[in-house]
């Protein structure tokens, strides 16, 4: 191991290191940097656990219905967020049912806020055209942040 790298080996390694960094898209890096906004915020990541497009085949009895309505479920350790596309509106419900504030965060910026009523229902209209995520703040200790959502119109 204590063999010394000559100029050619060092240069080849440097070249590889520079290229490895250049191969990563700037948006991927920027998205990572922006995650720091979540520092010291008690939010858990809610992961996609059901997507009607993806999972419809597993529930044959619901297939006809599932094909016409896009439904998604995000689950964290403490909260479940159910979403359903109805026309140009995204309907959602926080489970267990409770009031709260939903921040709609498009990847391109321009956050908006909607309220969830006392049974956890909220609606988002219009549906963001690009990728977005939802930050759900309830009265509890932990908030939930969904993964990126893309709903093609």
């Amino acid at each position: 191991m204590p063999e010394v790298w000559d100029d050619e080996r060092l240069f080849a390694a440097l070249r590889e290191a520079l290229h490895a960094r250049e191969a990563v898209p700037a948006e991927f890096v920027d998205a990572g940097k922006s995650v720091f906004a979540w520092h010291n915020i008690d939010a858990e990541l809610a992961q996609l656990t059901y997507d009607s497009i993806r999972d419809a085949d597993y529930e044959p009895s619901l297939r006809a219905e599932a094909a016409s309505i896009r439904a998604l479920t995000f689950t964290s350790a403490h909260l479940t967020v159910e979403l359903e596309v109805t026309g140009d509106t995204l309907l959602g419900q926080i489970i267990p049912a409770q009031g709260g504030v939903i921040r709609v965060q498009p990847r391109d910026g321009g956050e908006t806020t909607v309220a969830a009523d006392e049974i956890g229902c909220f609606s988002i209209c219009p549906i963001p055209s690009g990728p977005f995520r939802l930050y759900c703040r309830t009265g509890g200790d932990l908030d939930a942040l969904t993964g990126w959502i893309t709903l093609d119109p």
Partner: protein, 201 residues
Amino acid sequence: MHNDSSVIALVARVSDGDQEAWNEIIERYSPLVWNICLRYQLDRQDIDDVGQSVWLLLVEHIGSLREAAALPGWLATTTRREALRVLRAGRRHEHADLPPEDQMPPYPDAATIEEEVVVAERNAALRAAFAELPPRCQELLSMLASDPPPVYVDVSQKLGIPVGGIGPTRARCLGRLRRSPHLAGVLGGGASDVEVSETGR
């Protein structure tokens, strides 16, 4: 084994709420996360999904990382787990064009991931050392490192160095790079590195 003091310092600064230190960690290690995702043959959307999960988990756990120096390994393990999660989710989606389960490309094994970690640490150290070189050295080396490699006449014109001076300047810049504290222990024995660069002058 590695010179990890800079990683440890970065992690400590992030825990104190330093956005610049966080950016530095992302700059350093996004190639590691990215490359592991490529190993799992994820598409771009899934890679973004994995990236978001990994960085969120990091921001959540960075204060409780038992050993800051183990950050690259932690990132690799977490990326791997998240990649498997999106793959499992995707597999349930019945694609007509998806090959049967037994013909799917095999997952990368632990040794492959470990190798990615080693390469990522070395690359990060090299880039950190490179970033501290004088601007002229950075210009020359990055031009020489471009793909495809440039001809010396072009380099000479762009940087105003005579063609005959490119080789010696390159050697001098590489010598400085080699002596960078970032690379101590990364390129082989630290002490012998110094010895060679001394005799080489």
